[in-house]
Each structure stands twice: as structure tokens, then as C-alpha cells.
Symmetry: C2
Subunit: 362 residues, 2 copies
DNA sequence: TTGTAGGCGTTATCAA
DNA sequence: TTGATAACGCCTACAA
């Protein structure tokens, strides 16, 4: 028996494949592939036939199949603690813009800063064969099996906002030490002496950095470090609220809060306690937002370049993916102090702080 | 010549495949597949051998290959105008939670409300064979070729926040008409008579709905509709800022703003013009956020259940994907009025509005 | 219950 | 320049 030529089933009301195009144009699939990808040189005539067939069938390559064959998905994963924390949307937007510029897409995951969920996210991202991962590391270290998986996959990671040296040195951070240092100096400059800290988790690198900046700034300003004025939160509103109650009851005259959500919680606590900012306490917060310029109290903040973080991290990741001779490593972006009323800068030296407060009250 | 048995190359320092597991466990790939997917009944002994092999090799199925074969990616696409608009993160979070619950992931795209970008997003999502798409439609209609693609792909869509009947009736919306109506009624209740609108684009369904609600509420309260007090923006800060300057210069005593970002812009304009809220104009805004309860002016808002929008839309989409006998159709979620000081409710009837204003000024 | 072999839609290798 | 055909890694009839 003569071996019949293998025939592909003709499409039955499903999306056309490269075979359908090849048949329509009376060429081989190779030729179609070459035309579609602009590789190899295809003769004018053939190319036109192929283009016509593509047009006629409204053909679009199946990127899944392409990814499987080419071992490249043109998709990157991004794991953030919580996209609904207003800090991250701009980071993600920066990442998306950079990715899109290079023809990549973004698979988004929220870890809620929980190690188990983070692990699930990473597993599925790797199983879906993303080309690289942007990670804002949750507290804790990877389990060995996961670590093994990551090593086997040889997939590049770039860290966002938080270090995790065991995994990689490639990271885009902000200079949190400096930011916190400047925040506290601003409070000191405004005349505050008993300065409290509503800080982040010490299990997170930037929680530690911000704490160090706070501590060193106290010292540099000749202020004493009072342990009871230091509270550790988890960057969520609720912890800022509870911490705010505790902290404010100890009457600090200035407070540095390590992120925006905790500031919101703390202000709620202040209100419940009938304490006003900046009349009763000065405040400097991390993260700035457009609306902070129009609401009162107008917050003095240390702005972090969120968009840039996402954008540069993605550029770095793509460079790794494409194996470009890259300066990877750790990038530290500069924070920027936005001075507004909440720090109490109106209360300048020369005027006694207590007096000004009484005026404000009266 | 005896046909040699087809042999798969052994893994050379790359992720183990189902073949490697099969070899290790001395079974066929079918058995491995059956064990991994929990289908079919596999004998105790074999199952144990397979499990051991999986463990030993730290095997994870390649989801790309699975998707190609099973024609199901367990990934859904979501297209929003801009994830950095604070309205959308919670929507996306709701979608992610629902998706994750069912073992799905999310591919995120920003359209910037530009039709060309929206088209690119949709094309690539479909090319990557997502199982379904959540879409916040940009203004304008689809080009025929895109429409063709969508029809050919037979992929389910669920619309978010904005209708587009030509595509599908499946949508999760908010009752924007009612929300706007109530917002304006609240302004009227607070004693305002010349009420202005800082609205959204009339090219977007909810822009029209909110406008209608505004108009009808004016009429229901016996107020006249003054065209010069109606301004159309695009839901961005900048348009609220420009519109705010224009609108405030016409001295309305109450303003309804159709979204949060435009409110931020309008408040900035007010500040530049030296006008205070609520003393100089009452304000009701759409969208609520946790921080609006702690900053001044405390905004009266019409809250939209953002998280629920994303969550329910995803549930609906997944029902379609799984071909469940579903009540699809259009869901309208109820908005919720949060009354705070910005609307001027302190200025109750009985007290003359102008008088109260003078008090506040004095 | 378990194995064999073909298909999913590309890319990539090697001849022609 | 082109074409035939084997990967890519998994699922799934159909057989045994």
C-alpha cells in the first residue's frame, strides 16, 4: 500500500492555523512561518501569495503554540503584596509600559505578603513559563523545593522595593534609609523633640532600612531614642490605626509613618482621640499621591518614584531575559521630600512650640 | 532493518518532562498524566512509583503544553483604562481573587481609553488564547477585522462598568443613574440651588447615565438646568482641574463630580481660586476611598462596590467559560451614599444658606 | 487498569 | 530560497 500523505484536518469553524494558510497559498508551513516572522528571505511572489492568504483567512498565529516551540512566552510575571494598596498600581503601570514597549505582557499576582500564597504564585508563574518575574518579596525565605524549582527553571528575577540576597542581587529599590532619615530631620527642623515611629515590619528589608534611618536621624539631631515611641506595623491601614492609638497616647510631638496606608489609619486614630495634625503632633509620611496636595492636613511626605521603579525593574528584567550584557545589580532610586503643613514647619525656631500650639488651639 | 523504538532525548539540565517521570517510574506517560490529573484509576503500586518519581525529579507539568493540548489556558485577560486610576485596583483585586479561587490567572492590560491600544490588547490576549476577557470598553466601536477575530475565537467577554451591547449583554455595572440622582438630591437637600456637573465623557455609557441622573434629579427637585453649569471631562485629574476653573468661575453653589480623579483636580482649582468646600460650594463626588474619611474637606461620596464588580464579573465570565447554565446578563450593583461634610449638610433648611456661609467666613 | 500513538500549532533542522 | 519533518510537552482516543 502506498503510504497516504498525511493530511491535516481542514478547519471546521475554528481559528485558521498555519497549515490552512499554507494550503491556501499553496506553499509549505515553513514559508508561511518565514513570512510571518520576517525571517529568512522569501521570494516576492510567494510572499505575496502568503500575505493574501493570511489576509483572506484573517490568520493570527497561536502564541501558545509559538511559545511552546520557541520556549519563550513573551510574558512576565509580577508578584505584589496587594494591587489595591495604592502604592503598587503605578509600579505595575510602569512595568506594563516597559513590557509593552518590548512586546511583553504581564501576569499579575497578589501575595498578601503571605509566604504560602507567594509560593503558589511563583509556582504557577513558572509552570506557565513566564520569561521572568518581578517580585516584591513577602517576609520569610523560600522552601527548598521551591528554591530548587527556581534554580532548575533558570528564570531571571528582579526584586521590587525589597531585597532578598539569597535569590538575586538584581533589584530596583528606593533609598529608604535616606528617605526615613530626611523625614525625621524635617520633623526635627520643625522643632519636634519627642519623635515617634510608626514603622513597617522588621522582617521586610525596607522596614529595617526605614527604621535605621529613623534611628540615625534621631541621633544626628541630638534626640533620644525612646523605645516606647517606636511601633511596628504591617503597612496596612488597620495596623496604623491600632499603632496610632498606642503611639498618640504617649504624646510624641512628631511622628514619622513608614507608609501611606498606616498614615491613614493613624489619622483615624488621631481623630478619635481628638488630636489634630499638625497642631497636636507633626507628621511626615512615606509615599505621595496627587490628592495629598488638596486635602487637609496637607501631608509632608517622602515621595517614592513608583512608576520608575516598575519601569526600570522591567527594563532590567528584559535585559536579563534577552541576555544582554547588562549592568544588572541593585538600583537605588532617590526619594524626594515634599514639605507641606503636616510636619509643622510653620512652627519655626524662635517661636516656642508650645506657645504656637496654644495659639492654634485658642 | 528493525525500526528502532522512538526515543526521547534525556533531559540535559533542563526541567523534567512527563517522559522523564515515566522513565523514572517505569510506566507510560499516560499513567503519569493520569496520576497528575487525578483522572482514571491508577493502581496503588504504580501510583506510588509515579509519585515517588515526581517527588524525586521535582516535576511540574508544563502548563503551556497542557494549554495547547487541552485548548484551555486557565488565564483570563482584563483590560482596564488605567490601573493607576485608583478606581481599578480594587476591581482587579476582586477579579484576581475570584480567578484564583477557580485556578485561573490574570493577564493585565491598560488601554488608556484609546481604541488603538484597546485593539492591540485584545489581539494579543486572544492570540495568547486567554479563556475569557474582562473589558472596560474604551470609547468607540471595534473595527470589522477585530470584530471578526472576536467572533471566530468564540471567546466569552464580560464588560466592566460600561456597556457595549454590540459585543455582549454580559456585564457587571453599577447603577450610575441612581448614584448620580442621589448625589444631586443630597446636594439639593443640603439647600443648594445652582448645582453644577463635572461629568464624564458622553461617549462612555456611564458618562451618559450619570449625566441623566444629574438632569433628572435637578428636575425632580424643581431646579433649573443651566447648560453653563455642565462640563464634560474625561475622568482624569487634569480635566477636573480645567473644568473646575471653568465651573467655579460661574459660581454654582453645589457641584456633583462624576469621579474621584476629577474631584482631585477640581479641588486644586478651587484652592487656586481661593474657594473653600463646603463653605463656598457644596460637593458630592463618585467613588469612595478609606482616606476620604480622615482628610478635609470630608467628601460626601457615592461609593461603588469596586471589589465586588471585579469579583462578580469574573464569576460570570468563568461560568461562561465552563458553559454553566448561567444567569449571565447584566448585573447592576447598588451604589451607596456616604454623607459627609463636603455636601454642606450642616447648612440645614431653616437656616439661611447665605447666613451660614457668612458665619463660616467670619 | 495501562500502553501506544496521534494531535495541539508553532519553530527549527536538514536536505533538496 | 523552499519543503518535509522532527521536536516542544502534554492530553486523549483507541487498543491491549
Amino acid at each position: 500500500m502506498a503510504p497516504e500523505k498525511k493530511t491535516r484536518k481542514r478547519k471546521a469553524n475554528k481559528a485558521p492555523s498555519i497549515y490552512d494558510v499554507a494550503k491556501e497559498a499553496r506553499v509549505s508551513v515553513f514559508t508561511v512561518s518565514a513570512v510571518v516572522n520576517g525571517k529568512s528571505h522569501v521570494g516576492k511572489a510567494l510572499k505575496q501569495r502568503v500575505d493574501a492568504a493570511i489576509q483572506k483567512l484573517n490568520y493570527r498565529p497561536n502564541l501558545l503554540a509559538r511559545s511552546l516551540a520557541a520556549r519563550r512566552t513573551h510574558t512576565i510575571g509580577i508578584v505584589v503584596p496587594d494591587i489595591s494598596n495604592p502604592f503598587f498600581p503605578l509600579v505595575v503601570r510602569g512595568a506594563e509600559d516597559a513590557a509593552q514597549k518590548h512586546g511583553y505582557n504581564i501576569l499579575l499576582c497578589d501575595s498578601d505578603d503571605r509566604p504560602e500564597r507567594e509560593e503558589e504564585c511563583l509556582e504557577v508563574l513558572m509552570a506557565k513559563r513566564v520569561d521572568g518575574i518581578l517580585l516584591t518579596k513577602a517576609p520569610g525565605t523560600f522552601r527548598p523545593a521551591l528554591r530548587q524549582l527556581i534554580d532548575d527553571a533558570k528564570i531571571p528575577f528582579v526584586l521590587l522595593m525589597r531585597t532578598y540576597p539569597d535569590l538575586t542581587k538584581d533589584a530596583v529599590l528606593t533609598d529608604d534609609y535616606k528617605g526615613a532619615y530626611e523625614a525625621v530631620c524635617q520633623l526635627a527642623r520643625a522643632g519636634h523633640r519627642r519623635i515617634g515611629l510608626m514603622g513597617g515590619p522588621m522582617t521586610i528589608s525596607n522596614g529595617r532600612e526605614r527604621w535605621k534611618g529613623f534611628r540615625d536621624a534621631l541621633e544626628a539631631n541630638g534626640l533620644t531614642h525612646e523605645p516606647e515611641l517606636v511601633i511596628q506595623g504591617d503597612y496596612r491601614i488597620e495596623s496604623g490605626y491600632r499603632g496610632g492609638h498606642a503611639l498618640l497616647s504617649r504624646s510624641p510631638d512628631g511622628i514619622y509613618v513608614a507608609n501611606y496606608l498606616m498614615t491613614v489609619g493613624l489619622l483615624k486614630a488621631a481623630e478619635e482621640m481628638g488630636m489634630r495634625c499638625p497642631e497636636d503632633f507633626g507628621l511626615v509620611s512615606f509615599d505621595d499621591y496627587p490628592w495629598l496636595a488638596v486635602f487637609r492636613p496637607r501631608l509632608t511626605t517622602v515621595e517614592l518614584p513608583k512608576y520608575q521603579i516598575g519601569f526600570e525593574a522591567t527594563e532590567m528584567l528584559l535585559a536579563r531575559i534577552k541576555n544582554e550584557p547588562t549592568r544588572g545589580g541593585t538600583i537605588k532610586l532617590a526619594p524626594e521630600l515634599h514639605v507641606r503643613e503636616s510636619c509643622g514647619f510653620q512652627l519655626r525656631p524662635g517661636k516656642n512650640l508650645a506657645d504656637v500650639r496654644n495659639e492654634a488651639r485658642g
